[in-house]
Structures are given as structure tokens and as C-alpha cells.
């Protein structure tokens, strides 16, 4: 895999060492490496959480972070003050520091150094490496001639790129956009009486008449004077304009995400940028640039001193993480050791998404009625397809990013008189005809005043809202059955055949270990989110459905599992679903804590009493969930009743002024893959993903492999996205939302002509503690080791410790923790007290910070809250 070579390549280049980045230049190889250097975030409508440092995963975590930090100019860890505060509060103890340094770290730390460091934690300011604007070759022009090349190039570059790639804001699209980027530039420059760029026309023409590859080499020659420095210059280029460069790379890899397709490659981008820089410099310095002085400049630069950084910073981070891991492992071990109560007959089963936000819903349901069993699986429920809603043009991908679906499911409106969402005049005039806007202003102003008052005082705004509970979708019927007649579109198959359906349903059911003892009511609960005035709306939705609501998938699964031919085939595979069992699809809106049951899909069935009972319990659980969530939100006083709090929480999704409609995956820190017995009765504080898995049905680890292939990249991606956005919100994250400006419908920037900023905004990660994901697997360590070794990609995640894994043996309840290349057994001291937590909602609502993982006291009852 080429991305393994990125880190090696960077090491070989030795940018900050004696070599100064010199090497034999190979264009194709360099481009390939550059594509992996930057975060891979595509258009914001499809926000997918992923590891911003994915290119560095071939390195050990701390080395990777260090290398990335030296390139991006970011912080590596939290400020020393943070760790010191945690230590002072007693959350990190000296014994934990000792334990971590002794057992867990892969780098040598002297004990004396730790204690010395404890005394002298100073430096109130964040430590960060210098950024590329300080060590790059471009600095030469600044120091010698006071020309800030990157700033001047940026003004033209960003405007051209945003205009070319624009997906619907500009009234006049970039001319000849249908051609490739380079050709359009050529045509717009050559066939025009007025200049696009403020340089000599002849020079521009000469430059653009070459093809991109030639243009790139000639520009690089002028900018560096030495072919050996070309690679270094290109790395610096990509790091100087990281937002747009990253977008270009992401679009190149996946061009079909755009509705208005464009043809722009990384090569075009680099050729354009370097050409611009040459033109700017030639404009100021004459046509012969003193490129020969650059080699000298490069060789006499100060090397970045990487040795003065405190060696103990990674240790503190590890200790900070360990203090959470210890809680979780201890609690789960204790819980597993508890005597099992005799299982009650289950009258309802609910399959949720593994999402950490659902872990509290599951807990409430089980506590409200012990006869309900809950399961967790990836939110697409194994059904991958493209979903084309009624009267829409573009199908949505309803599967994880890694899976490209081959089936298309359409929806048909059941009722003729379907209400279309009305267009909003005020929004339309933003993008519409100027003269129409002019004449409509007096009329629009009335509408504007009304909408302003409604949005601000009543918190209602339907045009700015992106909601997962949109009514008209629920009334539409989805066609899951494949129809043999029409199949004009050769790209997809319409619907699924019975074999395909059975295969998927069986795989999911086997994965979660639900192959017998089906309850009469089985609920498939998908989740989605709602927010207003939020360009990052897709980040709140289900990651397993590529940033969409999982409703179509839940409906698909339920429909397929209810379909009698499918049931017959399942029975022949050993999964016999009794006739009275009905599968219901539900969507849980995690922002508003509301739900919608898709009963229309069950057309003529008579719904049992138990179903109504479940619906009532679900509503109660939603309200309690809202109250629990509210504890982290300052503006909702903790003394309010459950009803009021639920209303206020729901309102947040509709408020145009609320930058935190919900806290999404903030505080996520663990994923438990195993039976519900391990975690039932635990208070996980909504910090853990929960995947159901039955180790006893999987002696070979095949099912586990399937599950981990999803859990590790998806949950690990989410975790690391939050981790790095929290670690350095300016470089890896998007800064504060408040000054964001939507550019081309592709991304956001600060202000009008600045670089794009990928990553999570400040408001999404404030509450997050950066802790790497701990995946606790309910299986024997040998089997787990064999499973992850099957795939290099997964093994890299685990062995280089970008995620941590631990196992709890189903037979002995012993905990093994993965350290590099092997397991270590964790000795739990007997002195650790059993942690008990009484779920008193009023008390809990006052605590703004994280609550330790603990066992739920059986005296928690909620009757009095409802």
C-alpha cells in the first residue's frame, strides 16, 4: 500500500535534518504520496469522520503525531497545564503514571524524570512546532525581498478554485467548466479581452499553453533552482494551502460525490499554484529569478530542534487515557463477575446502531423494563444501497464509505396529495436574479421580519432546518424487492433478490448473535440528527450510512426480515423466526430526542398491544435521555423537569442561533464488542460504542473479523477525528463556527478569501477529552490476535496503537491489553473499590464533567420523573 511509504518517504527526505528534503524527483510517486499527506475530507454535505493523520498510520502513534506536528505546525498534546490540573484533581495518580511508564509505553522513560517533571510543569503557553510558513522555501522571498508569495498567490488561487468547483452559489458558473481545469483556464485567458489574472497576457498564455506537467517542472525549476528540491517544494505547497489542496485530493479520489462534476487533479492544482507564484515573483523581481540563492538559503536554515520538547508529554497523555481505560476495564470485569440473574422472558428486542449516543437509550429501555433486550450493530444494518427519494435527482449512499453499493432503492409516494416542501423566497433571492431581488425587497422585508421574529423568539425555522424526521419521507413506500422488468440503469440493480436479502439479514443477525429466541416485537432503531443553520449537519448523522439518516436502512431490514420468502430461507440456514414476530423500523432523532415508527410499512398487519407498550416506554426513555444529555449544556438549568428539558432540547435543533444543537460524538472513548451481559447495568456516560457479538457462536473469529472490519475504521475514524480536532483545533479542526463562510457549497472558510478549513469546529469538540478508542472485545485473546492479523490495514491500526484493544476472556474474565506485538495481562489491584452509581437524574444533571464508569445501583428508578 502506498500510504505505508508516505512516512518512510518523509523519513528519507529528512526535511529537518541534514538532507533538507533532497531526492531524485519522480512526479508520479510524489503525487501519490502527497495525496495521503492531507486529511481526506470531501464536500461538506458528506462529512465523514476519519483520521486526519491517516497517512501516518504506518508509524507508531506517538511517532506519527510527532512527524505530523512537525509538518503541519500543530500541537502534539494538550497543554502541560491541562495534565497538571488533572493530576491535581486526583484524576491522574502517581501510581497510574508509574504503571503506564512501566507497562504500557514503548519508549523509555526514567522514573526520576517523571517525578522531576511533576514538580516543574511550567510553560503556560501551548507548545507547537513552527509551521511551514516559517521553515519553508517560500520564506526566502520574504526575508530577502519582503514578498509574501503565499499570501499573494492565495488571493487568486482560492478565488479561481472556489469558482471552478462551485456547486451552486455563484450565479455565473466558471466558463467552459465542462472542460478540464487546465483547458478552461486556457480558454478563459486566451479568448477574452479582459484579464483574469493581473499579469502580462503573453506570459500567462505561454504558461498555460504548456500541459500541466511541463508547466509544473518549469515553475519548480524557477522556484527552487534545484531539481532535487522539487519534492520538498511540493510538500510545502500542499502544506501552505492545505484546505483546498485537501479538497482537490479528495475530489480526485472520489469525483462522483459532486453533483456538478468537475475534472481537477492534484497535478493541475500544483501546476497552477506554482505557476502563479512564478508570475508573482517575476512581476516584482523581473524575468530572471535569483533561484540559485535558494539552495544556499535552504542549507543555511536553522534546523528545527526537536529535542527540547519534554519527553514526558506522551507519558502524560498515556496516563490520562489509562485513567479512563482502567475505569472501564475494572467496571466491565466486575460486571462480568456478578451473578447473572435468570433471564426474564423477553417480549421485545431492539437493535440499535453502535453509536455512542444510543448507549444511554439502551440503558434506559432496559431499566424501564427488564423484559426488553437491546443489541447494537452498525447503523446500516447490513443493507447497503443507493437511496433515491421520490422526485429527487441524486441518490444517496446508505452504507459505510468503504462499501460501494450496487443496488438502488427508490421510494414511491403512497398518497397522491403529497406536500412538497415550499421554497422560501428569502433564501431563493440570495442566489437568484438581482433585479428580481430589487423589486421584491419591500415584500420580502415583511417576510423577513416575520421570519426573524419567529426564528429568534420562537426558535422555529423550517428553511434552515435539516431534519431526519421529515414527514413526507415517512409516507413514501420503499421498493426493496427487485423487479425484473425495467432495469435501464446499468450502474445499479433495482432492489434486492430474495437470496441477496437473506444473505444480508442473516449476516447481520449472526453478527449480533440473535439467531434464536426472537421476541414477538423486534425493533430496528436507526438514528439521524437535525440541526438548523449548520453547514456541518452531515457530521451529526449516522457514520455507518455515510453521514445520512439510517431510516431507509432500518426500514429495509425490517421489511426484509418480515418478508416470508426471506424467512423461509433464513429458517433453512438455521435462523428460524417465529410467525408472530414482527420487525418494526424506528428512527431516533438524536438531536431532538424524538422518534418516528414506520408503521405504514406494515400495511395490513394488526399491531399487538405490546407494540403500543413499547412505544410508550420508548417515549419515556427519550425524555430521560434528553434530561441526561442536558447536563453538559450550560444554558439548560438542571432544576427543570424532565418534560421541560425534553422540550428545550428539541428546540435546539430548530434554533438558527444554536451552534451546539447536540454534542454528537464528543466524549467518545471506548467501543465494547461483545455480549450485552458485559455492559448491562453499567453507567457508561454515553462514551462507548456498543456492538453486539456472541463469542460462543464464533470459534474461528470470522464473524469478529467482519465486525472489526467495520468497527475499527469507523469508530476509530470518529475517535481520531475528535481527538485531533480537540488537540489542535486551529490546525486539524475548523476553529470557531461563528466566523465560518460557506464556499461553493463544498466547505467553509473564515472570511471571504481564505483557505478552506476541514475538521470539526470548536463548538463540537469543546466537551471532548482526547482519549484514543479502547476496543474491548469479548473473546479469547488468541482468536482476536489471529483475526486482526488477517488484514494488514486493521493490524496497522491496532499494532501502531492508533486504537487500543483489550480482550476480556468469556471463560476466565481475564483482561488482556494489547501492547506492541503482544498481550499483557492487567493486574487489577484488589483495593480498587467497587464503583456504584445511583442514577439520580437531579444529581447527575448538575455535573458538567465526565462521570466515572460505574455500576448502576439497582435502586435507580425513574417512575418519579415521569
Amino acid at each position: 500500500m502506498s500510504h505505508i511509504n508516505l512516512a518512510d518517504w518523509l523519513r528519507k527526505l529528512d526535511l529537518f535534518g541534514k538532507n533538507r528534503g533532497r531526492e531524485e524527483f519522480h512526479l508520479k510517486l510524489t503525487l501519490e504520496h502527497l495525496r495521503h499527506l492531507l486529511p481526506n475530507q470531501g464536500p461538506i454535505k458528506d462529512f465523514i469522520h476519519h483520521n486526519p493523520l491517516h497517512g501516518f498510520q504506518s508509524l507508531d502513534f506517538h511517532e506519527g503525531v510527532d512527524l505530523a506536528a512537525s509538518l503541519f505546525g500543530s500541537k502534539k498534546y494538550l497543554s502541560p497545564n491541562f495534565y497538571k490540573t488533572e493530576f491535581d484533581k486526583g484524576r491522574i495518580t502517581a501510581s497510574q503514571l508509574d504503571f503506564v511508564s512501566q507497562f504500557l509505553t514503548t519508549f523509555p522513560i526514567e522514573k526520576e524524570e517523571i517525578h522531576k517533571n511533576l514538580q516543574s510543569m511550567s510553560s503556560p503557553h501551548e507548545q507547537r512546532y513552527p509551521s511551514v510558513s516559517e521553515w519553508g522555501i517560500r520564506q526566502f522571498w520574504n526575508s530577502a525581498y519582503q514578498i509574501e508569495v503565499s499570501v499573494e498567490a492565495a488571493t487568486i488561487l482560492f478565488k479561481v478554485l472556489s469558482s471552478y468547483l462551485d456547486q451552486g452559489i455563484s450565479f455565473w458558473p466558471f466558463p467552459s467548466r465542462k472542460d478540464s481545469f487546465w483547458l478552461s483556464l486556457r480558454s478563459i485567458n486566451n479568448h477574452s479581452s479582459l484579464p483574469l489574472m493581473p499579469f502580462e497576457r503573453k506570459k500567462i498564455r505561454q504558461w498555460l499553453d504548456k500541459n500541466p506537467e511541463e508547466a509544473l517542472s518549469s515553475s519548480l525549476e524557477k522556484l527552487t533552482g534545484d531539481k532535487q528540491l522539487f519534492s520538498r517544494y511540493l510538500i510545502e505547497t500542499v502544506l501552505t494551502y492545505p484546505g483546498w489542496a485537501g479538497m482537490v485530493c479528495a475530489l480526485e479520489t472520489n469525483p462522483s460525490t459532486l453533483r456538478k462534476p468537475v475534472s481537477l487533479s492534484l497535478l493541475d492544482f500544483l501546476a497552477f499554484v506554482t505557476g502563479l507564484e512564478v508570475l508573482i515573483l517575476e512581476n516584482k523581481l523581473g524575468s530572471v529569478l535569483p533561484s540559485n540563492k535558494i539552495c544556499e538559503y535552504v542549507d543555511t536554515q536553522d534546523l528545527i530542534d526537536r529535542n527540547h520538547r519534554p519527553k514526558t508529554a506522551p507519558l502524560w497523555q498515556e496516563a490520562f487515557e489509562w485513567c479512563f481505560y482502567e475505569q472501564l476495564l475494572h467496571a466491565v470485569k466486575q460486571n462480568a463477575n456478578c451473578s447473572k440473574k435468570t433471564p426474564l422472558p423477553e417480549w421485545a428486542q431492539a437493535i440499535f446502531c453502535i453509536d455512542d449516543r444510543e448507549c444511554s437509550m439502551r440503558r434506559y429501555l432496559e431499566q424501564l423494563d427488564p423484559g426488553i433486550a437491546t443489541f447494537g450493530t452498525a447503523g446500516f444494518f447490513g443493507i447497503d444501497f443507493w437511496f433515491l427519494a421520490h422526485n429527487e435527482l441524486y441518490p444517496l449512499q446508505q452504507s459505510p464509505v468503504t462499501l460501494t453499493p450496487k443496488h438502488l432503492v427508490r421510494s414511491v409516494q403512497k398518497h397522491k396529495a403529497s406536500k412538497r416542501k415550499p421554497k422560501n423566497n428569502i433564501f431563493d433571492t440570495i442566489l437568484g436574479n438581482l433585479f428580481k431581488d430589487l423589486f421584491l425587497v419591500p415584500f420580502l422585508s415583511v417576510s423577513a421580519i416575520t421570519q426573524l421574529f419567529r426564528s429568534i423568539f420562537l426558535a422555529e425555522n423550517n428553511s434552515a432546518l435539516s431534519s431526519s424526521l421529515s414527514q413526507f419521507e415517512s409516507q413514501a413506500m420503499l421498493e426493496f424487492k427487485s423487479t425484473e422488468e425495467e432495469n435501464k440503469d446499468s450502474r445499479f440493480k433495482h432492489g434486492f433478490t430474495v437470496e441477496e436479502m437473506t444473505e444480508r439479514v442473516a449476516r447481520t443477525l449472526k453478527g449480533i448473535g440473535l439467531t434464536q429466541n426472537f421476541a414477538p416485537c423486534v425493533y430496528v432503531v436507526a438514528h439521524g440528527a437535525s440541526s438548523s443553520n449548520n453547514p456541518h449537519f452531515a457530521a451529526y448523522d449516522c457514520g455507518a450510512c455515510s453521514g445520512k439518516s439510517g431510516a431507509p436502512n432500518a426500514r429495509g431490514f425490517a421489511w426484509m426480515a418480515n418478508y416470508s420468502p426471506v424467512r423461509k430461507r433464513l429458517a433453512s440456514q438455521g435462523i428460524s423466526i417465529p410467525d408472530e414476530t414482527i420487525f418494526y423500523a424506528v428512527i431516533h432523532d438524536t438531536t431532538q430526542d424524538k422518534c418516528l415508527f414506520f408503521e405504514e410499512d406494515l400495511e395490513n398487519t394488526v399491531l399487538p398491544e405490546d407494540h403500543r407498550k413499547f412505544q410508550g416506554l420508548f417515549q419515556q426513555a427519550l425524555k430521560l435521555n434528553a434530561k441526561e444529555r442536558s447536563r453538559r449544556l450550560d444554558l439548560i438549568p438542571s432544576i427543570l423537569s424532565v418534560e421541560t428539558v425534553a422540550k428545550k432540547m428539541a428546540q435546539r435543533a430548530h434554533s438558527i442561533f444554536e451552534p451546539r444543537p447536540e454534542l454528537n460524538h464528543a466524549t467518545n472513548a471506548a467501543a465494547v464488542v461483545g455480549r450485552r451481559e458485559l455492559t448491562r447495568g453499567l453507567f457508561l456516560d454515553r462514551r462507548s460504542f456498543l456492538q453486539s457479538y456472541d463469542p460462543f457462536t464464533d470459534p474461528t473469529g470470522d464473524i469478529l473479523f467482519g465486525l472489526l472490519s467495520a468497527v475499527i475504521p469507523v469508530c476509530g475514524g470518529i475517535n481520531l477525528e475528535y481527538f485531533f480536532s480537540r488537540m489542535d483545533n486551529e490546525i486539524y479542526g475548523a476553529g470557531t463556527k461563528l466566523s465560518h463562510n460557506v464556499v461553493g457549497l463544498l466547505g467553509v472558510s473564515n472570511g471571504v478569501n481564505n483557505d478552506l478549513i476541514p475538521g470539526l469546529p470548536l463548538q463540537m469538540i469543546e466537551a471532548h477529552d482526547p482519549i484514543r478508542l479502547l476496543i474491548l472485545i469479548d473473546q479469547e485473546p488468541e482468536i482476536v490476535k489471529k483475526t486482526i492479523e488477517r488484514n494488514n490495514f486493521l493490524f496497522e491500526w491496532v499494532n501502531n496503537q492508533w486504537v487500543r484493544i483489550a480482550t476480556i476472556s468469556p471463560s476466565t474474565q481475564e483482561i488482556s491489553f494489547w501492547k506492541k506485538d503482544g498481550w499483557i495481562k492487567i493486574p487489577f489491584s484488589a483495593t480498587l473499590p467497587p464503583l456504584e452509581f445511583s442514577l439520580n437524574l437531579e444529581e447527575m444533571a448538575k455535573i458538567r464533567e465526565n462521570i466515572s464508569i460505574s455500576t448502576l445501583n439497582s435502586s435507580s428508578n425513574f417512575e418519579r420523573y415521569l
Partner: protein, 613 residues
């Protein structure tokens, strides 16, 4: 009524002062205080409006406050309530009410929460004053408030370089176009002492004062007012600053550049309408400005690929139309347009992040897909013309590039050249100053020769140009600014024949603020030997209190209305009449330039990214 109006002005002002000086207050208290204050403002406006309607909707003009009176030197504040004021007040306060409530949640947990609301209150004071001002001096005070609050709010996230640069740029434009108002005020008073009152101006033909105002004076005065209006309302040829100003929180962009501050210029024209409408040249100028803006901004808006840039140019487009409406003689239509436009644009800015959701949803609707009328026109053009028009739009009419090439770059290189001879310049300035002082103290002031006056004026210009071009040393820059202002005060003293009344105000306040500034600079740079202007020191984060003192000093030297130097500026200009008119121009130019240089010093010292280790 006077009490109500005073309350109206003092309410936000006191709020601003309290929030700025009271130390760190909890977020909930800040929001309660601000909401209460804005609500009170709204109630006051309703009361005043109803009373005005009750009294028969006739214009009411009266003295609000006599700040200074000595001999023939007076500085009074007049208020004027008429349709324009009332409509303006109602709109402004309603929008403020809405945006304050919006910001209360939007800015939650932002470390600059208190600062944001303090600046907003300053802005509200400026707007209120602008609406009710009855004479040009009072209006100018409000105008300055708007300028400073814009500067502070664009640079709200001052750890970002582009925010810092753009806030300085916009402040520079504001400061430059303010020359129009300063000179306009001066011109009015020198022609006819009561002409600074708008009520008088309205009846200029009726009261038989036309003789004093010959067509050239009217035209000139109108032009100066137009200059200021163009600055604040981002008209041709300087529309390009508006897009650059979108660096602060969205709610502030909405309220400043969507709704309120953008219309200050056209409001000024509306205010002085009965006066300049008399002159045909003015009508043509205003029409021309509006038409050119509509053409340039309208075309520029079409290729904007980001939402705030698009909204900015569309807003300019509308304001251009308002200029045209005024020039054609329809002030009431213009007023309706202004009010309606304020609400629409404010709302559009506030919901601009939702454009992703909305546009994608609309684009996805199959039933709404029809070939758009817009594309038809553009694509119907022949290729060469289409590309040219696109390039014109892309470069926003080439205004910025041309102004940079023709005006700014040569000016900058001139200041650099003068800066290189700074030793000569400052030495010469000192000599001249000493000469003047000696002349004044030993001889009779009337003997003061014209040659000396001119030499002093020239050196004043040279020193302030050197300050503008100073890009090495912090202290040189600060001292240049102090010196120029001091020379200006001294100059006026002698040019007017030794009348001591006005200058002491000015000189003392300049000296005080210069000292405060030097002290704060010394405090900030305690550990740094040669502070350079090539770096950003970002002392706001590390030494907030001393930076605050520096801010006050910068504002004081720049003539911010809350400080006596503002008074002084007005009064010194007052003295330069008749044959000394060119010196008034010099004085205004120098003051303008110094304000920009002082702002630059402030941004370099106190703002910028905190550095890496």
C-alpha cells in the same frame, strides 16, 4: 423630550463603559445586562416615537447639550427628530433587539463574550447618535463610534492574520473617507456659522441664506459629504472593502454589513438631502455613484462563489439603487427601501450557513429543475464577450487592483522614501516647532509670518507621511504620531493669531494620551530590546490590561469622541477660516493619516497569532 433623548444616548454608552472597565463578568450577567439595556432602548424608542406622533409628526429640533462655550467658540449637540430619525431609530433598535438575543446564545462560551457585547453597545450608541443628530458635529461623533466598533469587531478573532489585516484596511478606508465629514463640517461653519444644524440646512433657500452658499460651495460641501457616504456604504469605487470585512462572527457581519453600518452613508445623504439636492452637479454625482455601483457590484456579485461575498455585493447593489432613488428626488422611496433592505439582508446573513442545506435540497428537487433564466443570458453571449464579462466580474471590476496600482502603491513608496530621511524630517520639525514657540513667546503673535506657517505645515505633512511609512521601529512610529499632532495644535494656535482658547484642550489631551501610550509600550516591551513593526506581538492575550491602556491611547490620539481630543480637533479647525483654508485641508489630512498609523501600531503590538515555541 430632552431627557428621553439623553437617556437614549446614554443607555448604551454607559453599558459600553461598564462592560469595558468592570473587569471579567460572568457570561449570564453580561447577557442579562445587555438584554435589559437593549430592551430598555427599544421601549424608549417606542415612547419617543409615540410622543412624536402625538405631537403632530413635525420635526423637533433642540439643543441636547452645550459641551463648551467660550466667546464665539461653542460646541453644542443638537438633536433632530423627524420622519427619518424615527424610522431609523425604530429599525435600528428592532434589529438590535433581534441580534442581541441571537448573539446571546450564538456566542455562548466564546472567550470574547463580554468584549463582543461591549463593542455592540458602542455600535448602538453610534447608531442612535447618527439617527438623532441635529448637527454635523454630533453626527460625526456617532460616525466615529461606528468606525471604531467596526475596527474592533472585524478584528474580533485577532489571532488570525487575515482578520487583523482586514480590520486595519477597513479602518483605513473609514478614516480616509471621514476627511469628507471633517472638512464638510469645517466648510459649513466657515461659510455660515449656523449651517451645521441640519434643520437650518433644510430651509436654506427659504431662509434666504442662499447667498452665502453659492453653487460652488454647495457643490463642494455636497461632494465632501458624498465622499464620506461612499466610504461607509461601500460604493464605487471602493466596494471591495465590504467583502474583506466578513471576518468577525456572523451575527456581527449581519448587523454591521447587512443591516446597519452599511446604510450609514445613504442615511447621511438622506439627512442632508434638502441641501445637496439643490445643486445639479450633486444630483449627477450621486446618480453617477449609484449607477456605477450598481453596475460594478451587480456584475461582481454574479461570480462570487462564497455566500458572504455574494451577500456583500448584493447589498452594495441595493445601496447603489438607494443612491439613485435619492438623486432622482424620491427620499421617501429611498427610506422605505432602506428599511426593507435592512431587515432582509440582516436575516439573510444570519441564516447564510444554512445555504448548504437549502441549496442542496432545492437542487435535488426534480420538479424544480428547469433551465434557469440566468444561465440563458450568460451563455447566449459569444464566447469572447462572455469570458471578458466573467473576468470583469471575477476581478470585481478591477477597482481594487487599479486603486492599488494608481493610488496606494505610489503613496506607500512615497512614504517609504520620506521615512528614509526621517532623521532630517524630525530634526527639521523640531527646529520649526521651537522657532514657532519662540516667536510666539517673544514676539507679538500677529507678526507670525506666512512663510513660517507654510514651513510648519510642510513639515507636519512630512512627519505624518514618515509615520505612515515607518515599518521598523515601534517607538519611532508612536513618537512621530505624537509629534505631528502636537505640531498641528501648536500650528493652529499661531495661525489664528494666538487665541489660546481652543488649543489647550487639544494639546493637553494629545500630550496625555501620548504619555499613556509611551508608558504602555514601555510596559509591554519591557523584556524586548528593539521592538519591530515587522512582527505581530499579540499582547492582548498576554497583557490584557496594558493593551487596553494602549487602545485607549490610540483612540485618544486618533480623536475618538469620548475624549477631549475630539473636541479639540473640532475647535482647532474652527479657527482656520478664509485664507487659511488650505491649512484646514492639511490639518484634516494629517489627522486622518495619524489615525491610520496609530491603528497600525496597535494591531502590530496587541494583535496577531501567538507565536510558536
Amino acid at each position: 423630550m430632552k431627557i428621553l433623548i439623553s437617556l437614549l444616548c446614554l443607555n448604551p454608552l454607559l453599558n459600553f463603559v461598564f462592560l469595558s472597565f468592570a473587569g471579567k463578568i460572568r457570561e449570564s450577567k453580561v447577557s442579562q445586562l445587555t438584554s435589559l439595556s437593549v430592551f430598555l432602548q427599544w421601549v424608549l424608542v417606542l415612547v419617543i416615537s409615540s410622543w412624536w406622533i402625538y405631537l403632530g409628526t413635525k420635526p423637533i429640533e433642540s439643543i441636547l447639550l452645550t459641551v463648551y462655550e467660550h466667546g464665539d467658540l461653542t460646541f453644542t449637540l443638537y438633536y433632530l427628530l423627524d420622519t427619518i430619525s424615527i424610522a431609523g431609530l425604530l429599525t435600528v433598535t428592532t434589529i438590535f433587539l433581534l441580534v442581541t438575543r441571537f448573539s446571546r446564545y450564538y456566542l455562548h462560551k466564546d472567550p470574547g463574550y463580554q468584549r463582543y457585547f461591549a463593542i455592540l453597545q458602542l455600535f448602538l450608541t453610534g447608531l442612535t447618535v447618527l439617527m438623532i443628530a441635529g448637527n454635523i458635529d454630533f453626527l460625526f461623533a456617532g460616525w466615529e463610534f461606528l468606525g471604531v466598533s467596526s475596527f474592533l469587531l472585524i478584528g474580533f478573532y485577532h489571532h488570525r492574520l487575515s482578520a487583523v489585516r482586514n480590520s486595519l484596511f477597513v479602518y483605513g478606508i473609514y478614516r480616509f473617507t471621514d476627511i469628507g465629514l471633517i472638512l464638510g463640517a469645517w466648510l459649513k461653519k466657515s461659510v455660515y456659522s449656523e449651517a451645521h444644524r441640519f434643520a437650518i440646512l433644510e430651509n436654506i433657500s427659504a431662509s434666504g441664506l442662499v447667498d452665502n452658499f453659492n453653487s460652488t460651495t454647495t457643490w463642494l460641501l455636497g461632494f465632501l459629504i458624498l465622499l464620506s457616504a461612499i466610504g461607509k456604504s461601500a460604493q464605487f469605487p471602493i466596494s471591495f472593502w465590504l467583502a474583506k470585512a466578513m471576518e468577525g462572527p456572523t451575527s456581527s457581519s449581519a448587523i454591521f454589513y447587512g443591516a446597519l453600518s452599511l446604510h450609514a452613508g445613504v442615511f447621511l445623504l438622506l439627512r442632508t438631502f434638502p441641501f445637496w439636492f439643490l445643486s445639479e452637479e450633486m444630483r449627477i454625482l450621486v446618480f453617477g455613484t449609484g449607477a456605477l455601483t450598481m453596475i460594478f457590484s451587480g456584475i461582481a456579485a454574479q461570480s462570487q462563489a462564497n455566500i458572504k461575498g455574494r451577500l456583500a455585493y448584493v447589498a452594495c447593489f441595493h445601496v447603489g439603487m438607494q443612491f439613485i432613488e435619492l438623486s432622482l428626488g424620491y427620499p421617501s422611496i429611498a427610506l422605505i427601501h432602506i428599511v426593507g433592505h435592512m431587515f432582509v439582508r440582516c436575516y439573510q446573513f444570519l441564516v447564510s450557513p444554512a445555504i448548504v442545506t437549502y441549496a442542496l435540497r432545492v437542487q435535488n428537487m426534480a420538479t424544480l429543475q428547469k433551465p434557469h433564466a440566468r444561465d440563458r443570458f450568460f451563455f447566449a453571449l459569444p464566447e469572447r464577450l462572455r469570458n471578458s464579462v466573467y473576468n470583469f466580474s471575477f476581478n470585481e471590476g478591477y477597482c481594487e487592483q487599479l486603486i492599488e496600482k494608481i493610488v496606494l502603491a505610489p503613496f506607500r513608496s512615497l512614504t517609504f522614501k520620506i521615512n528614509r530621511i526621517r532623521f532630517f524630517t524630525s530634526f527639521g520639525a523640531f527646529i520649526i516647532t521651537l522657532l514657532c514657540m519662540r516667536e510666539a513667546l517673544t514676539q507679538h503673535p500677529e507678526v507670525f509670518t506666512l512663510k513660517l506657517e507654510w514651513t510648519m505645515a510642510i513639515f507636519m505633512i512630512l512627519v505624518s507621511l514618515a509615520a505612515y511609512g515607518e515599518n521598523c521601529s515601534v517607538y519611532w512610529l508612536w513618537n512621530f504620531i505624537g509629534l505631528t499632532n502636537f505640531m498641528f495644535g501648536l500650528f493652529t494656535l499661531f495661525a489664528t493669531g494666538g487665541k489660546f482658547e481652543s488649543s489647550p484642550w487639544f494639546l493637553c489631551s494629545i500630550f496625555t494620551f501620548w504619555t499613556f501610550g509611551t508608558l504602555s509600550l514601555k510596559g509591554l516591551f519591557r523584556n524586548i530590546s528593539r521592538p519591530s513593526l515587522n512582527k505581530y506581538y499579540a499582547f492582548s492575550s498576554t497583557h490584557p490590561r496594558t493593551s487596553y491602556l494602549l487602545l485607549m491611547s490610540f483612540l485618544g490620539i486618533a480623536g475618538f469622541p469620548l475624549f477631549p481630543s475630539f473636541l479639540g480637533e473640532d475647535m482647532v479647525l474652527h479657527h482656520l477660516t478664509g485664507p487659511q483654508a488650505p491649512f484646514a485641508l492639511v490639518g484634516a489630512f494629517v489627522l486622518m493619516l495619524n489615525g491610520i498609523s496609530a491603528a497600525r501600531l496597535y494591531t502590530r503590538v496587541c494583535w496577531g497569532p501567538t507565536n510558536s515555541v
